[in-house]
Symmetry: C2
Subunit: 216 residues, 2 copies
């Protein structure tokens, strides 16, 4: 536990992260990768804002853009922290799966522990999904009101935040699938489904808008 807290993926290099991701090491995995891509996508939206503020042409939207940039920076930080959060939720999950289940007593204990760790393991990708939805809302405004010289970056931001949202959803579904409490599993699945249903089309709409502008 101590060791895990000391290790922070945020401080690894791009080379190191990609390299470790490709191995069978349990972390990072799809959840952490989604969180990173969400952070990268949010940062690209923020970059559009950075290229907008301080320009006469965009003086009218500057206060709004500055406020969105602050929210974006907070989301980037949250998503980077969730890379580690995802890794920290994995150890108890792996330990629970490894619990013995020979006797009725062991089975009951294992079921109890599994219920707790699966809920925690869903919580992280759910937070990643939520942060990606917020990032997409910001990207929409950056794409519409931000500097035209960075419009392609707003489009990339939309594509990346959408993919991170979709990637994180799979990490919700794989954990709800293993839950004994089917009512809870269905509630969580419905929450994830609802975020996908609303925000994947938004991300695709922003991307299509940018592509159309560039192909004009």
């Amino acid at each position: 536990m101590e060791e895990q807290r000391e290790m922070s993926f945020r401080e690894t290099t791009l080379n190191g992260f990609v390299s470790q991701l490709s191995t069978k090491a349990p972390v990072p995995g799809g959840g952490g990768a989604s969180a990173l891509v969400g952070a990268v996508g949010a940062a690209l939206g923020c970059m559009v804002g950075s290229l907008t503020v301080g320009k006469k042409r965009y003086a009218a939207v500057e206060p709004e853009i500055r406020a969105l940039m602050d929210r974006s920076l907070a989301l980037q930080d949250e998503l980077l922290a969730l890379i580690d959060g995802d890794a920290e939720a994995f150890a108890p999950l792996a330990a629970a799966y490894a619990l013995p289940s020979a006797t009725e007593e062991e089975k009951a204990h294992k079921a109890e522990v599994m219920a707790v760790v699966l809920r925690d393991a869903c919580d992280v990708p759910m937070k990643i999904m939520d942060a990606c939805c917020r990032a997409l809302e910001l990207t929409k405004v950056f794409a519409e009101k931000g500097s035209v010289i960075a419009v392609s970056d707003a489009g990339v931001s939309a594509a990346l935040c959408t993919a991170a949202l979709k990637g994180a959803s799979l990490n919700v579904y794989i954990n709800t699938k293993a839950m004994a409490d089917r009512a809870l599993a269905q509630t969580l699945n419905a929450q994830a489904d609802a975020m996908l249903a609303e925000y994947v089309p938004l991300g695709e709409e922003i991307f299509a808008l940018v592509r159309a502008k560039l192909n004009k």
Copy 2:
């Protein structure tokens, strides 16, 4: 130029990369971000392979999976290198845009330089697109034949590689838009269009397949 070659984004931390991306610094931008996400997506496919080899249950596919993992590692390395490649193509482009164009002579010189640097600036995102297409081909096999315990990671891989492909395409389109040679611009656009038309549906198909497996 010297300074640029010394700086390698592959060696920056995740924190540092995301932080610099969010600023108005010209690099990294949407091209480099797409290359990183392609590398992360490819690495997740490779992770599925890593969790497959050495298992009795998957002995029959092991030689094929091992060969795909080697190709994946090469793609990851190529995509990480393209983060720096994208950054290196930016400086000459920015310098060309800043050339004077008051006299006819200056205009002719600027047009000549622009033609060269725009072609180079398209070349990098085209390579990123191509590598993402190759990565998606690998991910398809990892998803179909790889260990079921890592199926969600194959789905995340598909989502990320698809987004990286789409993101890189915008960096082709923004540069072809500025080209004076419209025939060349249309040829490059057609190449990018063709990659999107073939591989975005493939990525979405893999993702949908994984999601369906998890929601069963």
